[in-house]
Symmetry: C2
């Protein structure tokens, strides 16, 4: 066991007695905030609720080391966004535009429709789908300011038909990311405020003099943002509480080990808590990937982050066969699943839980992160058991439609009357009985 | 203003200067639990997580005044459920079966399908829809034990294809509701535990020796249940944090005032916090409904609850016209909206926010509560702005499918490379670049 503490990446085998225990330890992630964080967040939420803009400006100056005197200084104009877009090097502008177009195309297919049907007695039942009025998008600032995330959050809202999209992005020490602004322009964001943290979540949830109150807040953030989102849930909708990003790669041994090493690195470079796991039933192949990791790791720009991530949370896992790999997939319910195998389509029916499935040797996760089309905001930490990728459906809601004919109401009234009396809700029963014909 | 404190129900007018203020006060509902409740819930969650069954049994004995010695005594067998169903009076058995059949029919229409499409270069994109493995259903016990809620929660899970449905229902002082057990049998519930409160939520979220861990917990409960659900959110999925039930009725003045009074009562009889609001532009009609309320209220079995609910949270609102009624609907975003008007279908396009829309004079909310087909678990307290009725979609999740052809990966790799380098994620870039053809 002492080997694991010095190795670049852990080696695990499903045939090892301690395997289940070791895998659990590796996967364990407690995203819950401590009492100090909770108290601080509650304080910020309360102050923004009470004092609006003034509280947001104060908190922003304090946490992002700014010296704003009013919210005007913390808002960007549409012209600023457009200028950022126009000023991009052509190559970046075109890449961003191509990505946006593909993301839009894919998400157009997700749009559910309203539907209804009529019964024999003329009663009509159905469901109406409608967009949210206003969506709030949290975009992290600082070291993890990603223009691709702006596209991935704002475009589905746009496709859904949301009337107004309000974006918040902190600018610690006043540093603005021009690519982020350009992406906001491209994605059709209506308002951008350069605020972040719990104060930004509070402003979106409650509204202030300057920040319009939204109906739902989406987008990842640090522990303060996550804690604030959990607290305002119910007041507004939220997408999910995101944990660190993770990938599980399954290889049949036929993919170039260098490719796989780089695929693992691309996850690990996000941050020290990111998780990269490779599973194969070919022990020699795992050796080859480990060698590739050792050889390529020193060539990476973000090698310190990658080394720490692989050491703490990475693993090369030897399993018995493809069937056992599938069992592992469903147990882990990975955010990203790369099926680097022949005929990956034959695996699909058996995979019950995964955020996104990257099929075949050519489909690197990085392609999906930026431009394949599907969303890169995905359920982490095993929550793919019950959560979906961010999508158009997150920016819409449904209303049930019930339109009883006189005949329909009379028949349904008889059933409702019996059941309501069984529940001792006699006003319900009498309300239904008024509609029964003599 | 002194009139309101003695009247059975408040009268408001949109032309009153204080209207907005008074409406806000009426709608105000703070469902947030205080620190004492939070601390108690956290303690229960931690003890169940650590000690499993033993902690659940202890808490159940304490809060529900039982004397169970093991979880065996807190579990019902399928035979017990079937017996409860078989022993129902024929009229109840048939009413319950008819309701179940209609609910199933409606929810079958909600099932989304997996989809995919192929691009010119052979790249395939899509989304796979899959059911949750296991769903937990919380059914309140005591004074609000509703068999209809068992149907409304379990049938969509069943239609979604959930493998196992685990129901919890507290039995304070050992009182079992045979109708609830019968509904559980009818709806195909797999396990029933007679536990409730935060301890039941914890058992479902973490699993114990006896209670299987679920992937999502749905169903309403008291403040302890709501607080526990919020706390375990992320560990498992949850449906929503339900507030008190409410109805908004819009009448054009042509519906029998007795019918409308009873429709308002049917909401108010749920509990003292329930809310019933009637809006009309016909002042004489509002007078007539008020008279009907005064006359009929004393005839109700649950008159004390209804009186308190109407006094605290009810209102008859005079507005200018249909257009202003629509503005009020979208501002309130009611859980239940009854359009007791001629040609209600002409209103639909303008209604942006409502949980369920009951159209026309015949469609009493009570019909929808029991047997029309659509779900009666609906977003409360204005959350229809961003939430939907409980549905099949709550028991399914999606996985993105990305399968790049060699040509597709090469083209996408070029875009991804530019964007990844723009974000300084160079391992992402290199992973994509490996797939670019020379």
């Amino acid at each position: 066991m002492s080997k694991q503490t010095t190795a670049t990446i852990s080696r695990l085998s499903t045939s090892d007695d301690a395997f289940n225990h070791r895998l659990d330890a590796l996967l364990d992630w407690e995203g819950v905030s401590d009492k100090a964080v909770q108290a601080r967040v509650e304080e910020i939420l309360a102050s923004v609720k009470q004092r609006g803009d003034a509280a947001v400006v104060e908190a922003t100056n304090r946490f992002d080391r700014l010296a704003a005197t009013s919210m005007d200084e913390l808002q960007l104009t549409p012209e600023q966004l457009k200028r950022a877009f126009d000023n991009l090097p052509a190559e970046q502008r075109e890449a961003l535009s191509s990505a946006a177009e593909r993301i839009k195309c894919y998400h157009e297919r997700q749009k559910p429709s309203s539907w209804q049907y009529e019964e024999a007695d003329g009663t009509v039942l159905g469901q109406k789908v409608a967009p949210l009025d206003r969506a709030g998008i949290y975009v992290p600032g600082g070291k993890a300011a990603y223009p691709s995330s702006v596209l991935m959050n704002a475009i589905p809202a746009h496709v859904a038909g949301v009337r107004e999209i309000v974006m918040v992005v902190p600018t610690p020490d006043g540093v603005l990311n021009e690519l982020v602004l350009a992406a906001a322009h491209l994605a059709g964001v209506d308002y951008v405020f350069t605020i972040g943290g719990a104060q930004a979540v509070a402003a979106l949830a409650y509204g202030t003099e300057s920040v319009p109150r939204v109906d739902k807040i989406v987008g990842p953030g640090n522990i303060y943002v996550a804690t604030a989102k959990r607290a305002v849930f119910g007041q507004v909708g939220i997408d999910m509480i995101a944990g660190p990003s993770e990938i599980m790669v399954v290889s049949d041994g036929q993919t170039d080990p260098d490719w796989l090493a780089m695929d693992l690195f691309s996850q690990a470079e996000h941050d020290e808590d990111a998780q990269a796991i490779l599973v194969s039933w070919d022990a020699g192949h795992l050796d080859a990937v480990e060698s590739a990791i050792e050889r390529l790791l020193p060539t990476l720009e973000r090698k310190e982050i990658v080394r720490e991530s692989l050491r703490k949370r990475g693993a090369l896992v030897l399993c018995q066969d493809a069937q056992e790999a599938i069992t592992l997939i469903n147990r882990i319910a990975p955010e990203h699943l790369e099926l680097s195998v022949a005929a990956p389509e034959t695996w699909l029916d058996d995979i019950r839980h995964a955020g996104a499935i990257f099929m075949g040797r050519y489909t690197a996760e990085a392609l999906g992160d930026y431009c394949a089309g599907p969303n890169h905001v995905l359920p982490t930490s095993g929550t793919a058991r019950f959560s979906s990728p961010l999508g158009v459906y997150d920016f819409q809601k449904r209303s049930s439609i019930i339109h009883c004919s006189a005949d329909g109401a009379s028949e349904l009234g008889k059933i409702a009357s019996v059941l309501a009396r069984g529940e001792s809700l006699t006003a319900h029963a009498r309300s239904a009985e008024y509609r029964i014909r003599d």
